[in-house]
Amino acid sequence: MHSIMQQPFKNAVLILVWGWLLFLVLAPNLLVVGASVMTRDPVSFLSLPLNLDAYRQLFDPLYLDVFLHSLYMAAMTTLVCLLIGYPFAWALSKVGKQRQLVLIFLLIVPFWTNSLVRTYALKLILATNGLLNSALMSIGLIDEPLQLLYTEGAVIIGLVYLLLPFMILPLYSVFEDLKQELLLASHDLGAGRLSTFVHVIVPLTLPGVLAGVMLVLLPAMGLFFVPDILGGSRNLLVGNVIKNQFLDARNWPFGAAASIVLTVTMAFLMFAHRLSKRRIGEEGA
């Protein structure tokens, strides 16, 4: 069916894209893996011998603490996004078609706006002399300004604000796909509302939940500028640690090992996502 003329075109395209991915994705990532098992060198960044010191350093109780704290903040961010996003996506899927389009549009407008600038705008609101404190004080709810900026809470608020749409969109799409018949069937069989929710809706929306978690949790560990602006250079994320190791402390093996932690987390989440999708596929069949 395909003419011979196509062959060179097809080959050219494949060579181009494979070349790009091999050279700019695979090779660099292998370099990072390589860097993580090398030895720190004050002059040329990396040197032999190969060893696992960088990984051992990750489990140094001190650094472990940093990672756990970062993970905690990322997990909180994800949880808050899920708690806000799940009912939001549900409510959104129940709105009329025409209005839905407008609402989705409104949801992605912030996403298309510069994220640094939006983080900065949060600072205007959360600062001690900022708008929130002024508002609360003027209506007499508080006498003293609250310390909101430069806290763990401020970092989480910033991350939630930047990442919420990434939780809502995959959730919305699974709610859209939810088979109405399944719900009806479950009702006919006499299941109550809560039982329908637990046994039908939750499992069916699980892939959406996991996709959302993946899209939120990973960036929530990497967006180093959020703690820089809202966290007072405290409340560090894994991203800050990686950035410091590469751009300040010059401990490349350790920075590389830290970034592999992120990659492994990603692989784990992707695996879970696939698994949940497959299970639903089987049940549906």
Binding site: L24, W90, F105, N114, L116, G130, F246, A256, T263, M270
Partner: protein, 256 residues
């Protein structure tokens, strides 16, 4: 079921999403320098923005970078999507999977790996390194956008064209390209915006010879409250709003 509850909830969340943006826009017209209090209407921050030569240079650099990154990634991405859609070849699943992984990878991982590569091959950090990096993270998004369009596309059309004696090239030009055009534009606009917004990757792979806007903004917001940032943010907001409406309009129009 009561309808007001979900509606109130939706409204509330939208309100939270938009309050910071509204604050930003309103304060960009604030005369007062010291931040939070209202000091009267003024355009002075816009003025000081455009009088700052380094800022204007960074703006042009960023626009040029976004333009070229979006274009290159659209070309490569569209070709890849076509290949994935039309051809069978070994490693097709792997290619798909790899693009997915690139899309999901935390930006910081991409950033340091590219930095390591550029240093190893001795590429000067500047426009070229930024371009390569930006194209890399835009690529999967373009592929997905175009693939989505192609999968909804009636396979009988190219067959019919071929039956009528059209060559493969003509068929591609007259049937396929018009069909995926909206997706190309949407993908291009997405790439453009991603590139313009990127801080994480650019922090690592930019050099002194090519300063771009996000890094300029980053150093400004770290210094503290700068009313110029409000003005700049408002401009960027308007700009991306126009881009977004354009892409939505293209997509919606193409569906009819």
């Amino acid at each position: 079921m009561t309808k007001w509850l979900p509606r109130t909830y939706l409204t509330l969340v939208y309100l939270l999403l938009y309050v910071p943006i509204v604050v930003l826009v309103v304060f960009s017209f604030n005369e007062s320098r010291t931040g939070y209090a209202w000091g009267g209407l003024s355009l002075r921050w816009y003025e000081s923005l455009f009088n700052n030569r380094a800022m204007v240079t960074a703006m042009w650099n960023s626009l040029w970078l976004a333009l070229s990154a979006a274009t290159v990634s659209t070309v490569i991405g569209a070709l890849t999507a076509l290949a994935l859609h039309r051809y069978r070849f070994r490693g097709k699943k792997l290619l798909n999977g790899m693009l997915f992984v690139v899309m999901m990878s935390p930006e910081i991982v991409l950033a340091i790996s590219l930095l390591a590569l550029f240093l190893l091959v001795g590429l000067q950090l500047g426009y070229v390194s930024l371009l390569l990096a930006h194209v890399t993270f835009c690529l999967p998004f373009v592929v997905i956008t175009v693939m989505a369009r192609l999968s909804g596309f009636d396979e009988s059309l190219p067959e019919a064209a071929r039956d009528l004696g059209a060559s493969d090239f003509t068929m591609t030009r007259t049937v396929l390209i018009p069909v995926i055009m909206p997706a190309l534009l949407a993908g291009w606009l997405l790439g453009f915006t991603l590139s313009l917004d990127d801080v994480v990757v650019s922090t690592f792979v930019s050099g002194p010879s090519y300063e771009i806007l996000p890094l300029r903004i980053y150093s400004m917001v770290r210094v503290g409250l700068k009313p110029e940032v409000n003005a700049l943010g408002t401009l960027l907001l308007v700009f991306s709003l126009v881009m977004l409406m354009l892409s939505q309009w293209i997509l919606i129009r193409s569906k009819r």
